[in-house]
Amino acid sequence: MTDTVAAKIPVTVLTGYLGAGKTTLLNRILTEDHGKRYAVIVNEFGEIGIDNDLVVGADEDVFEMNNGCVCCTVRGDLIRVVAGLMKRQRPGKPAFDAIIVETTGLADPGPVAQTFFVDEDVKAKTQLDSVTALVDAKHVMARLDDSKEAREQVAFADRIILNKTDLASEAELIAVEQRLRKLNPLAPITRAERANVPLDQVLGLGGFDLERILDINPEFANPAHGEVGHVHDEHCGHDHHDHDHGHDHGHDGDHHHGARGHAHNDDIKGVSLSLDRPLNGVKFTNWLDRLLGEQGQNILRAKGIIDVQGEDRRMVFQAVHMILEGDLQREWGATERRWSRAVFIGRDLDEAALKAGFEACAA
């Protein structure tokens, strides 16, 4: 008998406000001829098998962990459902090619994501792949104004699908994209009509995979073209018209929602930090621990790649509220620019203090 290391099942969390198109996307995932087996966990109960797939009901049973930390909440129903799904596994084979968790329009994706980090049984069998947020291009601006949940869903995402683009003008789309990017500089934005985004841009992203943090959006800590502080490096060398990050090129000269974001007083924003000098590893770790301990409730997501003095490998970290994971990853490439980048997305963040704290970690 040999030790078997069963592949972990990737989990995609699909979020988005009511009417954004989640059900349309789910229907596509379940009915397209992809030869894969998915388990879909939804809030409306009903176990409907669609060919190979399984749709299971969840009940948004959110609970606090006993560590006394109010933001460390997990979804008990997910632990239960995932444990049940794993019992359908056959020896040596995963039970499903992927698990998709659809959260209701008002749900907070935080407890869902944390479940996959905190519960040891769930962690052993599954791996959170990404949080994908669907937004309705026509109505998202109003939702972002009046709904805290809508802002949090966008802030939390690893990828944003800007849906129903056929219902909005190009100028409206650019304005929406700029606002989304201020809320969340990490997530690439993909435009779609009737949720017609290729499935490989929704599933299998590795958004929570430490090794892939850079690959998803190499420019995540770099303000968009045309915005203050944008730095050109090797990632920007390609033809702007072929850009697939959906990021703003700043060419239109019609920049009323620009970099300073004065048009919307969003309580949630992304703060990008970078430093060209190496950081002191101990100082940085202490600063990050303290920051997440004190402000973790308000910090929804954080990701970063750090150049640690005296270390040939890149230090990569990510956090969901106070739950932090980090590791030394591959070595810096010979031609790679060695610099430290971090993005914090959260509520009421003090950008100047974050910048000062980060820079004080310089070696």
Partner: protein, 321 residues
């Protein structure tokens, strides 16, 4: 005797005739090779039928099924077809209790018309009968509810403790209720005065508890060895230290199995090994010494002499201790 199954093994049990395994493909496999494919989807929980003949299983098809070697029949279905997450049966009262979502249901193995459904505010994670089969403990978020098994309209006694409780057991003398918790600890209550008992210090989640030695010891999984809590006198484990046997730094005990009437204990490890021991004696007897996938199911026969085990790779066996 050894077996290899093409599905996850979700429970091991001993009925009057021998070992029984329940599987993730919905089948119930008897030691003699006979089997019943009874559930559509995985079997999530199982208990020996109150008669001692065959098993009652709950599945993700929302059904409770009684399987014997020659036949199988549906005893109950859940409200709304929800998954049956936990089940227990009492040979004393002949009652069967099971949970689905927030509901605890009770049926009578000797009366097809008897059924009670009790609602909870949060999902029920585990059910356990008291030794006489008259009361049922249902673990849930924030504590445990105690119900009288036969009374139709009642308010349960709530045993409260913050946090998520993932499973429950009654002590064989009926004086204590112990729950397993999400955050790697146990919690207990002395029923006569609802006094709390905290039992912590585990490196991992506790998935299983078992009473042995006339209920004077409670063994648990969740550590590098089997943890033994003393349940002696009116205070149970309060103010006492637990002991640990079979400590092995390189593995964790994933499951324990015992019988209240006997003084022996079986433990299944995360590295695939299984041992049997008499805590009053010396040393461990490895009934499965080769390493492999983590042990996923474990049972001790009523006479304490046979161990049924299964691992996550679909291998299973019945061995003499």
């Amino acid at each position: 005797m050894s077996f290899t199954f093409d599905a996850q093994i979700t429970a091991a049990l001993f009925d009057n005739s021998g070992a029984i395994f329940t599987l993730g493909d919905g089948s119930v496999r008897f030691e003699d090779g006979s089997y019943n494919a009874v559930h559509d989807g995985a079997i999530l929980c199982a208990a020996v039928h109150p008669s001692g003949d065959g098993v009652v299983t709950g599945g993700d098809d929302g059904r409770v099924i009684w399987s014997r070697k020659t036949e199988a029949g549906v005893l109950a279905t859940s409200v709304n077809g929800q998954w049956i997450d936990s089940i227990d049966a009492s040979p004393e009262s002949k009652l069967i209790a099971f949970s689905s979502g927030k509901t605890l249901s009770v049926i009578d193995a000797t009366d097809v018309y008897f059924r009670r459904d009790y609602a909870h505010e949060r999902t029920v994670s585990g059910v356990a009968f008291d030794p006489k089969g008259r009361r049922i403990a249902a673990s849930t978020y924030g504590g445990c509810a105690l119900w009288y098994a036969r009374i139709e309209k009642q308010k349960p006694t709530m045993l409260k403790w913050a946090g998520s409780h993932t499973g429950v057991a009654f002590s064989p003398d009926g004086n204590f209720v112990v729950t397993m918790m999400q955050d790697a600890q146990l919690h207990g209550w002395r029923l006569k005065d609802s006094k709390d008992m905290r039992m912590g210090g585990y490196p991992s989640k506790v998935r299983s508890v078992a009473f042995l030695s006339n209920g004077q010891l409670m063994a648990t999984s969740g550590a590098q060895g089997a943890v033994l809590w003393p349940f002696i006198g009116a205070n149970g484990p309060m103010g006492r230290e637990a002991t640990e046997i079979g400590y092995d730094e390189g593995s964790l005990v994933t499951l324990v199995a015992a019988r209240p009437k006997h003084g022996v204990l079986a433990a299944g490890l995360s590295d695939g090994r299984v041992w049997w021991a008499d805590p009053a004696g010396q040393g461990l007897n490895f009934v499965k010494a080769d390493r492999g996938a983590p042990i996923a199911a474990l049972a001790l026969s009523p006479d304490g002499r046979l161990v049924a085990w299964a691992d996550e790779d679909g291998n299973a066996g019945v061995v003499e201790a």
